[in-house]
């Protein structure tokens, strides 16, 4: 099964790492869109169908929480699951994100297995038998 996945992070290397973890988890055939902040993320969401959003918390222009709150105001976007991948040390901020309707969170540093488990629990499917043959998509990224 393939999905449309939006990665929102101002760090290009981190977007690449998360994308690689998705591919390693068996979602290599999915369509990946990328945005560098919440404003760009909302623009992508309005223009194309997205199944799940993976977002950083702290970003310039619009952070992940503000983007989530904007999504919740939209009938078209409010049901799209949002997962925050964050370095934020404060549990208070994570709680705020979850209370605002996030589907889950992952703290950095993370293992690829944590990404895979989170995706599987939210999307409700396991793609273990669809692992890519591409050696670049292994977990040893």
């Amino acid at each position: 099964m393939t999905f449309s996945i939006l990665l929102v992070d101002d760090s290009m290397p981190m977007r690449r790492v998360i994308k690689k973890a998705f591919k390693a988890a068996g979602y290599a055939g999915s369509n990946f869109s990328e945005a560098a902040n919440g404003v760009e993320g909302l623009e992508k969401l309005e223009k194309s169908w997205i199944d799940i959003v993976i977002t950083d918390f702290t970003m310039p222009e619009m952070n992940g929480l503000e983007m989530l709150l904007n999504m919740k105001k939209s009938d078209l976007l409010k049901d799209i699951p949002v997962v925050v991948v964050t370095t934020e040390g404060s549990q208070e901020k994570i709680d705020q994100f979850m209370k605002s309707g996030a589907a889950g969170y992952i703290k950095k540093p993370f293992t690829p297995e944590q990404i895979r488990d989170m995706i599987t629990s939210i999307l409700g499917v396991s793609n273990d038998n669809e692992q890519s043959d591409d050696p670049d998509n292994g977990f040893d990224f």
């Binding site: 290009m12 934020e88 040390g89 293992t111």
Partner: protein, 160 residues
């Protein structure tokens, strides 16, 4: 007291970040070391980034990594061969490492309090700027050096 706790948690965090995200084990050196004594100045070109933090106490954390080690980290992090790495890859890897280090550190210091982290910034003059303050070890500034198989890296902490 604050500095001692901060340095203890930074030491734990740099090991966790380097081993989890980069598969690079680190060995912290004992004691508070100056940049001049760290060996970082002998490693050729080095990159430095800084991040601010604000909470029950405030300050900055600088991360200084020789380019040779940073290239290896970026390769491991993104799975890119070194021939395809750009300056953006290297700077992004450095900033993300510092971001993870700071976030992980403050979650260990006080998981419930609200430490606000700034956005990591590259120090354009790299290691020079980090050494220009001539921070002799003091109660407000501390330097941790950790060794890897591919060279040392430095973490300079300043509490206001």
């Amino acid at each position: 007291m604050i500095m001692n706790n901060l340095m203890t948690q930074i030491t734990v965090s740099i090991s966790e970040v380097m081993e989890t995200m980069f598969y690079i084990p680190v060995e912290p050196r004992d004691g508070n070391i100056t940049i001049e004594a760290s060996g970082l100045l002998e490693s050729g070109r080095a990159e430095a980034a800084t991040i601010t933090f604000h909470g029950s106490f405030s300050g900055t954390i600088d991360l200084i990594i020789p380019e040779t080690l940073l290239i290896i980290m970026a390769e491991n992090f993104m799975g890119e061969s070194r021939h395809h790495l750009t300056e953006e890859h290297l700077e992004g890897t450095l900033k993300e490492t510092l971001n993870m280090l700071a976030g992980n550190t403050f979650s260990k210091i006080d998981n419930r309090s609200s430490f606000c982290l700034g956005i990591p910034e590259i120090k354009m003059s790299g290691i020079k700027e980090s050494s220009e303050r001539k921070d002799a070890p003091s109660c407000n500034t501390n330097m941790l050096v950790v060794d890897t198989l591919d060279g040392p890296m430095g973490i300079k902490v300043h509490v206001n």
